[in-house]
C-alpha cells in the first residue's frame, strides 16, 4: 500500500493532480500533501461553541492559521489577541474556545504584548515557544498600527496575523483604513456626492510591512487553504518579525450570504482586488496566480455593501475604478503570469 502511494505521488509530478489539488484533503495523496485541516488530529486551536456569526470568515481563518502554527511548532504557541470580534466571540466569560494559551489585552497593543511574550520565552530559555499576535484590520491597520510598526522595526520574534474583514465589524460595521473604496459602512453611508467609502483613501499594511524590511510578509485568504497553511508554516520557520494578512469575508458586515464566505474570498483573489503575495526582507518574492480571472463585478455583486454601485451610472463608473485597482494589482504582482516550475 505504501509503495503504491509512493508511486502515485511520483506520478503526480508528471501529471499534476486533478481531483483534490485544491481541496482540503484527498484520499489519494500522502498526509504531508494534505492540509492540516484534513487531519483528525489537527489542534482545533479554536474549537466548537464559539459565538461567531454563521459563516464567519474570521473564525475560519483563525483556526486555519493557528492550527497550522500549532503543527509547525509542535504545539508550542502562545497567542495574543487584540480586542475585536475574534476576541469577543471566542472568550465570553465563562467559556473560551481557545485551546492554546491565549491572552487578550487591548485593542491596539497585540503586537507589543506578543513582543513581551516572546521576550519572556527567550529569557526563560524557552525560545521554542512562539508568540503569535492576531487582530482584525481595525486593531492592526488603525489603532494597533503603532505597536505593529514598533514590533516590525525591532524585528521581534512575533508572527502578527491580521484577519482582514475590511472594517470594524465588532462595533457594527464602521469604516477602517482597510475598507475598500466604494464600500458602504455605518460611517461611510451610501449617500451624498460620493456614496460609500471614499476613493483614494486607505492603506496597504502588507506593503508597509514589506517596507519595514522584515523577514517575511504574506497575504493569504480563507479561500486557498493550502496556500494559507504553507505561508503560516513558512512564517513559523523564520525567526524575527513576520506579518500575515488573511482576507476573511464577513457576512454581517459585507451583507453577503453566510454560505458565500469562501466563495467571496476566492472571488476577491480571482478578480485581483486581494493579491496574494509573499515578500522577504523588503522584496516581493512570489505571488499566487489567478486561476480563473473574473471581473470585479462578480465579486462585488453578492455583497450588499456594494449594491448602491450597481444602481446608478456614477456607481458603474466607480465599479470601473475598482476594476482599475484590480488591474493595477494584477500588473504590479504579476498575477496572471504563467506558473513557474515550482
Amino acid at each position: 500500500m505504501n509503495e503504491q502511494t509512493t508511486t502515485l505521488d511520483a506520478t503526480q509530478k508528471l501529471h499534476f493532480y486533478q481531483k483534490g489539488t485544491f481541496t482540503v484533503g484527498n484520499r489519494l495523496v500522502s498526509d504531508e500533501r494534505r492540509a492540516v485541516q484534513a487531519s483528525t488530529d489537527r489542534s482545533n486551536a479554536l474549537t466548537c461553541g464559539h459565538r461567531a456569526c454563521q459563516g464567519c470568515g474570521e473564525a475560519l481563518g483563525a483556526r486555519y492559521a493557528m492550527d497550522a502554527a500549532m503543527r509547525a511548532t509542535g504545539g508550542n504557541v502562545i497567542a495574543v489577541n487584540a480586542t475585536g470580534c475574534l476576541e469577543v466571540f471566542t472568550t465570553p466569560y465563562p467559556e473560551t474556545s481557545w485551546q492554546t494559551p491565549w491572552l487578550h489585552s487591548l485593542f491596539g497593543n497585540a503586537a507589543a504584548v506578543a513582543t513581551g511574550v516572546a521576550a519572556a520565552m527567550r529569557v526563560k530559555g524557552r525560545s521554542e515557544v512562539r508568540a503569535i499576535a492576531q487582530g482584525g484590520d481595525g486593531g492592526t491597520t488603525d489603532i494597533g498600527f503603532g505597536c505593529l510598526s514598533g514590533m516590525f522595526e525591532r524585528n521581534d520574534d512575533v508572527l502578527y496575523i491580521c484577519y482582514d474583514n475590511e472594517g470594524y465589524m465588532n462595533t457594527g460595521v464602521q469604516r477602517s483604513s482597510a475598507t475598500p473604496p466604494g464600500a458602504r459602512t455605518a460611517t461611510t453611508p451610501a449617500m451624498g456626492p460620493e456614496p460609500g467609502n471614499v476613493f483614494g483613501t486607505g492603506k496597504s499594511v502588507p506593503k508597509i510591512a514589506v517596507a519595514h524590511g522584515i523577514p517575511y510578509v504574506a497575504t493569504a485568504t480563507v479561500a486557498d487553504l493550502h496556500d494559507l497553511e504553507r505561508k503560516v508554516m513558512r512564517a513559523m520557520g523564520i525567526h524575527g518579525a513576520r506579518y500575515l494578512q488573511i482576507h476573511v469575508p464577513c457576512p454581517l458586515g459585507w451583507g453577503s450570504a453566510s454560505h458565500d464566505t469562501i466563495r467571496l474570498a476566492r472571488l476577491a483573489v480571482e478578480c485581483g482586488l486581494f493579491p496574494l503575495f509573499e515578500a522577504e526582507h523588503g522584496v516581493v518574492t512570489s505571488s499566487q496566480k489567478i486561476r480563473r480571472r473574473v471581473p470585479v463585478d462578480d465579486y462585488l455583486k453578492p455583497q450588499r455593501r456594494f449594491a448602491h454601485l450597481f444602481s446608478t451610472e456614477e456607481g458603474r463608473e466607480r465599479i470601473g475604478r475598482l476594476q482599475g485597482l484590480a488591474d493595477r494589482n494584477i500588473a504590479e504582482y504579476h498575477l496572471l503570469e504563467a506558473e513557474g516550475d515550482a
Binding site: L8, T23, T40, T96, I262
Partner: protein
C-alpha cells in the same frame, strides 16, 4: 490550577455552548446521480469504477464495471460514449475520457486473464438466448451470474453478432472481441453456433427452457430502388462488412461510392478505402451536421481521405457512372430536389440505408405484436408472449452495442424476477448532479488525454486498430479527472471549511457526519463541497 476569577478561563470550555440551536437550515449529506451514470445506456456505474481506477486498483474497477457490462474492452472501443457527452467536466475543460479508461480496464483484464466470479448457486431454471450479439451476450452473462442455466443459440458461425459482422476490425480487433466472449462462455454459458431458431416456441419447448430472450441483430440491409444498368455493381453495406469476416475479400474497384449518412456508411467507406479504393465517396442527401454518423467517425474518415458529397441523392447508376441530383434543405430541414444533376465516376455503389431484423422466428407466436419491423415489448422487456423477452435491434430503440448490452442486463433482471414469480423494481434514481451542484474551483485544470492514433498511411491501407489505448499513467490521470459528481469522495472540504468545527471525520471510506450540536447552518460546507454531495434543508420549526 485555580485561575483568577472570570478573567482567566479553562481552555476549550466553550464546548458547553451548543450553538446548533442557532440553526435555521441544516446540511445533510446526499448522493446524487452522476450525469455519466445517468447517460449510460448500459447502466454502468461509471463513477464507481473510476473511483477504484483513480487509486490504481484496476481489478476492483474492472469488477465494478463488469457488474453491469461484461464487455468493457469492446465497449471501450465501439461505444459512442454518451457518458462523455453528459460529463460535467466538459463544462470545466473537457469531458473525462471515460471510454478510454474503460478500454484500458478491459485490456488490462484481458492481459491479466481476470475472470468473472461464477454464480454461487444454480437456480434450476433454463433460459434460451437467441442471438450471440451484444444484447444476447449481455443477457446470458447476467442471467448466468444470477444462477440460471443459459444457452445461446446463434445462427451465424461466430459469436458476436453485429460486433463482428457490422463493426470493422480496425475499430474492434477480433482477438479482443473473442476474449470477452470467451470469458462469458467460461462462466458456463452454452454457446450453440450455426443454430438458427426458426420457431421460438418450439425451440423453448424442445430445450426445456423456462424463458427466452430474443436478441436477433439487424443483419438485413435495406435496399432502395435505384435504376441501374446490368453491369452496375451495387451491394449493401451490411453484406460488405459481413463479407470482411469471410475468407474472400470483396472486390469493389478503384472508385467506390457509399450511399447513406449513418455510422455504417462511414464504416463501409473506410473499409473500401482499406480494400484499395483510390476514391471512396460518401453521398448523403443532407448536410454534415445532420448526418446520423458520429462526428468523430466522420472526422476520422475525412482524415483517411474519404470524400463526402453532401446534399445529393443518387438517381441512377450506369456502368461506371452515377447520376446524382443536388438537393437543398427546406425550412424544416428536409432535403428537396433541385433538378440539378451531375455524374460521378464509380466502380461500385454500396448502399448504407439502414438494416432490418429477420423476425421469421416469431411467426405464429401468439400474443406478439410486431410494428415497423420490430417487436413490441413491455417496460420489463417481455413481449406479448409470456416468458419471451426481447431486446437489442429487435425492439424499438437506438441500435448500438451499448444499448444492446443495456437491454441484455435489463432483460436479465426482469427474466430473473419473472422466473421467481416476482417483478423487478429498479432502485429509485437519485437527483441528477448537474454542474450547478458542483464547485469546480477545487478541481485542478487538467485537459483530456489524447489517445494515440495510428498513422494515416497505415489507416488507409491496413485493418490495424486505428485508435490506441492509454498506458497506465495516462489511464490513472484520466480516471483522476473524474469530478465524482454528486457523491462524496472524501476530499475533507466540509471537514476543513466549517467555521464551527461541526463536521466529524469518520475515517477512510466512512465519510463524514455533521455535529448538529454546534452546526450553525451557515451552508459553507454545501457551497464548498466540490462534488455536490451536501444539501441544505430547512430546519423544522
Amino acid at each position: 490550577m485555580e485561575h483568577p476569577f472570570a478573567i482567566s478561563l479553562d481552555v476549550g470550555s466553550s464546548l458547553a455552548n451548543l450553538t446548533g440551536s442557532w440553526r435555521t437550515s441544516r446540511p445533510v449529506y446526499v448522493d446524487r446521480l452522476p450525469p455519466c451514470n445517468n447517460a449510460c445506456p448500459a447502466g454502468e456505474n461509471i463513477q464507481s469504477w473510476l473511483y477504484y481506477a483513480e487509486s490504481g486498483d484496476y481489478e476492483s474497477a474492472w469488477r465494478t464495471l463488469t457488474i453491469d457490462n461484461p464487455l468493457p474492452a469492446v465497449m471501450g472501443r465501439v461505444c459512442y460514449h454518451p457518458c462523455e457527452g453528459a460529463c460535467n467536466r466538459a463544462q470545466v475543460d473537457e469531458a473525462v475520457g471515460i471510454n478510454s479508461v474503460e478500454r484500458f480496464l478491459g485490456d488490462v483484464a484481458i492481459r491479466n486473464g481476470w475472470r468473472f466470479e461464477p454464480p454461487q448457486a444454480d437456480s434450476g431454471k433454463r433460459v434460451l438466448v437467441v442471438g450471440a450479439g451484444p444484447s444476447g451476450l449481455s443477457a446470458a452473462y447476467h442471467l448466468r451470474r444470477m444462477g440460471h442455466a443459459v444457452e445461446i443459440q446463434e445462427a451465424g458461425p461466430f459469436a458476436g453478432g453485429m460486433m463482428r459482422f457490422g463493426i470493422p476490425k480496425y475499430r474492434l480487433p477480433r482477438d479482443v472481441l473473442d476474449a470477452e466472449i470467451n470469458r462469458i462462455i467460461d462462466l458456463g454459458v452454452v454457446m450453440k453456433l450455426d443454430t438458427k431458431v426458426d420457431r421460438i416456441v418450439e425451440s423453448m419447448r424442445e430445450g426445456g427452457f423456462d424463458a427466452a430472450f430474443l436478441a436477433v441483430g439487424a443483419h438485413i440491409g435495406k435496399r432502395s430502388f435505384i435504376p441501374a444498368g446490368s453491369a452496375s455493381k451495387i451491394l449493401d453495406a451490411v453484406s460488405l462488412l459481413r463479407s470482411m469476416e469471410g475468407e474472400d475479400q470483396p472486390l469493389l474497384g478503384r472508385r467506390v461510392v457509399v450511399y447513406g449518412g449513418g455510422n455504417t456508411a462511414i464504416d463501409a467507406a473506410r473499409t473500401a478505402k482499406r480494400l484499395g479504393a483510390t476514391e471512396a465517396i460518401i453521398v448523403y442527401r443532407r448536410t454534415r451536421d445532420r448526418m446520423p454518423a458520429h462526428d468523430f467517425e466522420v472526422e476520422e474518415a475525412l482524415q483517411e481521405g474519404i470524400m463526402m458529397k453532401w446534399l445529393s441523392t443518387i438517381k441512377r447508376m450506369d456502368e461506371g457512372t452515377l447520376t446524382v441530383e443536388k438537393m437543398r434543405l427546406d425550412e424544416s430541414g428536409f432535403p428537396q430536389p433541385t433538378g440539378e444533376f451531375e455524374t460521378l465516376e464509380t466502380d461500385a455503389l454500396v448502399l448504407a440505408l439502414g438494416q432490418d431484423v429477420d423476425l421469421s422466428l416469431l411467426d405464429g407466436v401468439p400474443g406478439l405484436e410486431i410494428k415497423d419491423g420490430v417487436v413490441t415489448v413491455a417496460p420489463n422487456m417481455m413481449t406479448g408472449h409470456a416468458g419471451i423477452f426481447a431486446g437489442g435491434d429487435m425492439v424499438p430503440s437506438e441500435r448500438t452495442v451499448t444499448v444492446a448490452v443495456g437491454h441484455g442486463k435489463k432483460a436479465a433482471r426482469h427474466i430473473d424476477a419473472w422466473l421467481r414469480g416476482d417483478a423487478y423494481a429498479p432502485a429509485e434514481r437519485h437527483e441528477l448532479a448537474g454542474i450547478d451542484k458542483l464547485n469546480t474551483w477545487y478541481y485542478a485544470d487538467a485537459p483530456k488525454t489524447v489517445r494515440p492514433m495510428l498513422e494515416i498511411a497505415r489507416r488507409q491501407s491496413t485493418f490495424e486498430e486505428v485508435q490506441g489505448g492509454l498506458d497506465e499513467t495516462n489511464a490513472l490521470y484520466e480516471a483522476r479527472r473524474c469530478l465524482s459528481c454528486g457523491n462524496c469522495f472524501e476530499c475533507d472540504n466540509c471537514y476543513g471549511v466549517c467555521p464551527d468545527n461541526a463536521v466529524i471525520k469518520l475515517g477512510p471510506g466512512q465519510r463524514f457526519q455533521f455535529n448538529y450540536d454546534y452546526c450553525k447552518g451557515c451552508g459553507v460546507c454545501a457551497q464548498e463541497c466540490p462534488c455536490g454531495a451536501i444539501a441544505m434543508v430547512p430546519e423544522e420549526i
